[in-house]
């Protein structure tokens, strides 16, 4: 199977600090990682390759430094990586990003499957996966928690984690999946993988190498515009009670029940 895995480089969320004055993210000194949810997509693709043969290509759109994310994916078992980078792409919203990625994936040649993470932890929209499917007219299954049947070159059966349970969906190939954590536990890169990643040639695709409509690119080509950024209040100014012993526990529970009552959060049969 020929599989394409679009990934994103994101700031390490555990270290995000906000500038209290400007309300923007302090990027300086913040490390970058492969979007943690993309690791499940990488693992899924590598396992499919191991079970059914084939080739996994990972692609990312971002600044030149995003090459590092591609090398991490190669260290985990992807065969090669392609960097899509150009100043013209800066500021793309999910519409523009999915367009640019879709056009880049087209130039890579035939494929059977695209596997993406469900969303990125920074933008947090989950819109790029289904967007790419729309551009490429591929059948799509989102929130995939398991792949239960693979008929290489023909089709797949997957289970989608939806509100009511697991929806079982059958898709012909080529198709696009977005996956959630349950699909596969990502492996750690091996030493051999790391060596291969370090030596890998990462081709660069700029706007000039792709067949793109200039009006669809970057900040200008994005239908949505950010007009204001604010920092929400971090604390809610709530009350805190201490319950170090039995009496204090009873008092704390009293206070909690009164609080829930006041906010009308208790079902009728347990109201005082």
């Amino acid at each position: 199977m020929r599989i394409v895995v679009p990934i994103k480089q994101v700031p390490e969320t555990s270290n995000v600090k906000m500038d209290p004055v400007t309300g923007t993210m302090i990027r300086a000194g913040v490390g970058t990682v492969v979007n943690p949810l993309d690791l499940f997509a990488i693992e899924t693709a590598v396992r499919l390759k191991e079970a059914h043969g084939g080739h996994v290509t990972t692609v990312t759109m971002g600044p030149r430094g995003a090459e590092k994310a591609l090398r991490e994916a190669i260290a985990m078992g992807c065969d090669d990586g392609v960097l899509i980078s150009d100043r013209a792409f800066a500021g793309s919203d999910s519409w523009s990003t999915s367009y640019t990625l879709a056009q880049a994936i087209r130039t890579l040649g035939d494929f059977d499957l695209i596997v993406a993470g469900e969303r990125a932890t920074d933008g947090d929209t989950g819109q790029v996966g289904p967007g790419i499917a729309a551009w490429l007219d591929l059948p799509v299954a989102t929130y995939v928690a398991a792949i239960t049947r693979v008929d290489p070159g023909r089709g797949l059966t997957v289970e989608r984690l939806v509100e009511e349970g697991y929806q079982v969906l059958e898709l012909p190939l080529p198709a696009l999946l977005t996956v959630v954590k349950e699909v596969a536990a990502p492996r750690l890169p091996t030493l051999r993988g790391k060596k291969r990643a370090k030596a890998a040639e990462i081709p660069l695709l700029t706007a000039a190498e792709l067949d793109l409509e200039p009006a669809y690119l970057g900040l200008k080509g994005s239908p949505t515009k950010v007009v204001k950024v604010a920092t929400p209040k971090v604390t809610r100014g709530g009350s805190m009670v201490r319950a170090p012993d039995e009496d204090a526990v009873a008092d704390a529970v009293d206070a909690l029940l009164a609080f829930l009552e006041e906010r009308d959060l208790l079902p009728r049969e347990v109201r005082a």
Partner: protein, 343 residues
């Protein structure tokens, strides 16, 4: 045709509560724009009486596209139906639920219609003068709130999380039209096929649509202790959630996981027991209406964002809370016929 639309959702012929929540938000927008509000239902088996309730909750028009082939969500056919309606009637605003359906369908349709789409909006408003939709959403794990608009493209599309707003009270006197629209055969895309639901998921936890979520973290110490949370959730009319840590330790299944690599929830009440409040977890709960934290560590991050925090050993607190709730339920049951649900 109306200029503000909402997408109602159904499961097995029953409208989901989020359908009414969307109408509450959209009614305010339609009033500001002085335009009509329509609710669209793509599905199957929703009867006329239920469709009328969409009018009672704020819709001026209800368009129901129902067919057995639309009973379960498949992106391609739903997208064809919605794109066709958009091209025919040219709405200005479309609101959908940030559910597994809405979050798949809306980006697909937005691409095809060259529309702007904003995910998981917490506030929606109309910009005075221009009439553009102002969409505010948390970003970067809830650390910032971004306000977004789509000045040059229509429709302006947005998703909002279930439970993030309340529906308007039902007004059975409200007048509106319900229009049944037959499914055009040409819009059916048979590539992806719904085969059913996995059999073992009958009593599945619908965390996103729960009013109350009682969640446990590492402080729960072992799997058996999650039974305490099950009982508490039951007493409070809610569902059980968990941190990534608790799920990774195998104490409870992944569908219960809340946070960056799990579900994002906005319940009316979130109770966190033994949860330190890692930024990844907080990102999934920040829009909860009320947050309660129970943790022996006074410096736990969850305490900092909580509306009510108890610093103490969670086990005696949970036991006492449960005892009091059970006691109340018994005395309520003794003095009056038991009543289901909330007022």
């Amino acid at each position: 045709m109306s200029f503000v639309w909402t997408l109602a959702e159904q499961h097995e012929g029953r409208l989901k509560a989020v359908s009414y929540e969307l109408l509450g938000r959209a009614r305010a927008l339609a009033d500001k724009l002085d335009t009509k509000l329509a609710s669209l239902l793509i599905g199957d088996g929703v009867d006329a009486r239920q469709l009328e309730t969409l009018v009672h909750h704020g819709a001026d028009e209800v368009y129901a596209i129902q067919d057995p082939r639309l009973a379960h969500f498949t992106c391609e056919t739903y997208s064809n139906v919605l794109v066709h309606l958009i091209r025919t009637y040219r709405p200005s605003v479309i609101l959908a639920a940030a559910t597994s359906t809405g979050r798949t369908l809306m980006p697909h349709v937005a691409v095809r219609c060259h529309a702007g789409l904003t995910a998981d909006c917490t506030e929606l408003d109309i910009e005075p003068g221009s009439g553009h939709l102002l969409q505010t959403r948390p970003a970067i794990g809830g650390n910032i709130l971004a306000t977004i608009k789509t000045p040059d493209h229509r429709p302006q599309m947005a998703t909002v999380r279930p439970k993030s707003s309340r529906p308007l009270p039902a007004d059975p006197e409200r007048a509106g039209r319900v229009i049944e629209v037959p499914l055009d055969e040409a819009l059916v895309d048979a590539r992806a096929r719904h085969l059913g639901y996995r059999g073992d998921a009958v009593d599945f936890v619908n965390l996103e649509e729960a009013d109350v979520v009682v969640a446990g973290g590492r402080g729960m110490k072992k799997a058996e202790h999650f039974a305490l949370l099950e009982r508490l959730a039951q007493a409070l009319g809610g569902a059980v959630g968990a941190t990534r840590d608790a799920v990774d330790r195998g104490w409870i299944g992944y569908p219960h996981q809340v946070g960056l690599s799990g579900k994002t929830i906005s319940p009316r009440l979130y109770v966190g027991a033994g949860i330190s409040g890692a930024i990844q977890h907080l990102a999934g709960i920040k829009t909860s209406e009320t947050i309660v934290s129970i943790n022996s560590d006074p410096d736990a991050s969850l305490h900092q964002v909580a509306d009510f925090a108890i610093v103490g050993d969670l086990f005696p607190v949970l036991q006492e809370l449960q005892r009091r709730l059970d006691e109340r339920r018994r005395s309520a049951g003794a003095s009056a016929p038991r009543q289901e649900g909330r007022a």
